[in-house]
Symmetry: C2
Subunit: 260 residues, 2 copies
C-alpha cells in the first residue's frame, strides 16, 4: 500500500494510491483515517512531502564506500563509524518530488546529491529489540540529502551545508510493503546513471539503528530516519535533474537551479 | 503578555495569563485565536511545553565564559566561534516546567544544566536585516540544555548527550514583552545560586543569529532558537532541583531523577 500526501483545489489531503488514481482519505496514516469515495488522477494533483517530521533523524555516515570516497577527496584516512550514532536534519529544508532545489548564489560548485532510504515511523516506540524493531515502522520513502561540501567542512555545524532551504527533497510516497533486503538504489543525472548501490549494504541496518536510538529516545508517529548513502556524487550544475530510484519503492526527481 | 499551553480535564489549550488565572483561547498564538470567557487557576492546570517546535534550533557555543570553562576542563585551548553557525536539538527530548529529567542508568556523573534564553518565532521570515530581525519573534521562554558530558565527547553526534528523552526542559510560558538587554540569568540547585550571568552577554545576539540563519533558511511560526549558556554547571545528582530564572521572564524548574 502506498500513502501519498497531495494538494488538490488548494486543500492538502492524505490518499491511497489505486493504480493511476489517488483515493482521498479523511485523517492520516499516523492517527487514524477513513477512506472517502473521492478519486483524483495522480497527474492532476500537486504531490507534497509525505510527512512534516516530528523529529528529522539522519544516520549520516552509514555505507563504507561513501566514507572511503569522502576521505580520499579530503586526503585523509577513512574512519568507519564504530556505532550507530544518529544525527539530525531540519524541516525548513524539505521539498517534495518534482520541486526545485535552489542552489544559493554564494555556494561553491561542490553541490552533491545523496540518495537515501527513509524510514517513516508509524507508532510510538522505546526500548525496541532486534526482533520487534520494525513493528514501529509505517513504511519507507526516498530522500536526497543535498550537500554543499565546502560549507560542510568550514562551518561548525551542518546548518548551511545540509539544511539550506530546498536541500532535503523527500518523497514521493510512503510504501508500507517495501522490504530493503534485495533492493538497489540507482541515481541518475539527466537520465545518465551515476551511482548504483545495494540499498541494504548499510554499516548499521534499520533494526540496529532503531534499537540503538530507542535505548535513549522515544520514536513518535511522523518521525523520519534517513539511512545514509553510498558512493559519491559528481558536482551538480544548474539545470541538472537528479532522479533517485529505489527498486520496488519508487523514484524521487528534482531539478537543481542556481539562484541568480 | 504571557502565553501558556496547558492541560485541563485531559484537553490541551493555549491561554493568556491574567494575574493568577489563565484565560482560555480557541486557536493558538501562531495561526490566530479568539479569547473565550473561560478562566482557570494557574495552579490547577498541568503546564505543557509552550510549543512543539517545527524546527528546534540551538546556538550551542555563544557565551565566552562557557567556552573557556569547557576548554579548561578538557585541557585544551578555548576557541570562540567565529561566526553564528546554528545547531539543532530534538523534539523527543522536550519536557515541561515541573516535569522530571530522567538520568539514564548508564549515564556518568557528568550531568550538567545549561540555562538558556529561548526565542519563539511567530512569523515566517527570510532575509531578515538587523533592523527588522525581531519582527518575526513572538516572544521568549526558558530552556535547560541538559547535557551528559562524557557522551558529548565520545559520540559522533549529540544524539545521546543532549537529546536523550527528558533532557530538554522548556517553559513555563512565552513572554511577548520581554527584552533581553538588561536581564540576568540565575541558576539555582536546591535553592542555592550556582550560576549568574548577563542574559544578553552573547557572542552573537538574537538579531545577529536571525539575520545569519535567514540568509539560507526560512523561519516558520513555532520554530524555537535556543541561544546558548554562560558559566559552568556542577555535576548534578538524583534529587537535585534545578531552577533557571531569567529576570522579567520567569523561571523554569525541574527535578533530576536517576533511573534505577
Amino acid at each position: 500500500m502506498r500513502w501519498i500526501r497531495y494538494t488538490f483545489n488548494q486543500v492538502t489531503h492524505y490518499g491511497i494510491i489505486r493504480g493511476d488514481k489517488i483515493q482521498q482519505v479523511l485523517g492520516d496514516p499516523f492517527h487514524g483515517f477513513k477512506e472517502e469515495a473521492i478519486f483524483r488522477d495522480i497527474d492532476k494533483v500537486k504531490i507534497e512531502i509525505p510527512v512534516l517530521p516530528r523529529t528529522f533523524y539522519c544516520a549520516g555516515l552509514n555505507y563504507s564506500e561513501h566514507v572511503i570516497e569522502s576521505a580520499k577527496k579530503q586526503g585523509i584516512e577513512p574512519v568507519l563509524p564504530s556505532k550507530a550514532d544518529i544525527g539530525y536534519r531540519a524541516n525548513n529544508a524539505l521539498i517534495a518530488h518534482m520541486e526545485n532545489v535552489i542552489i544559493p548564489k554564494d555556494a561553491t560548485e561542490k553541490i552533491h546529491y545523496e540518495g537515501e532510504l527513509v524510514v517513516v515511523i508509524g507508532k510510538q516506540a522505546k526500548h525496541l529489540t532486534l526482533e520487534n524493531a520494525l513493528s514501529c515502522v509505517l513504511g519507507y520513502t526516498i530522500g536526497n540529502d543535498v550537500s554543499e561540501r565546502t560549507w560542510q567542512r568550514s562551518d561548525r555545524t551542518f546548518w548551511r551545508s545540509k539544511n539550506t532551504d530546498t536541500f532535503k527533497p523527500m518523497g514521493p510516497w510512503i510504501d508500507t510493503d517495501f522490504v530493503p533486503d534485495e533492493a538497489v538504489t540507482t541515481v541518475k543525472v539527466n537520465g545518465v546513471v551515476k551511482t548504483v548501490y545495494k540499498t541494504n549494504a548499510m554499516i548499521f541496518n534499520v533494526p540496529t539503528f532503531l534499537v540503538e536510538m530507542t535505548k535513549y529516545l522515544t520514536l513518535w508517529p511522523g518521525d523520519v530516519v534517513w539511512m545514509g548513502t553510498d558512493g559519491a556524487s559528481p558536482d551538480l550544475i544548474s539545470g541538472d535533474v537528479v532522479d533517485i530510484e529505489i527498486g520496488g519503492l519508487g523514484h524521487l526527481e528534482n531539478k537543481f537551479i542556481r539562484e541568480i
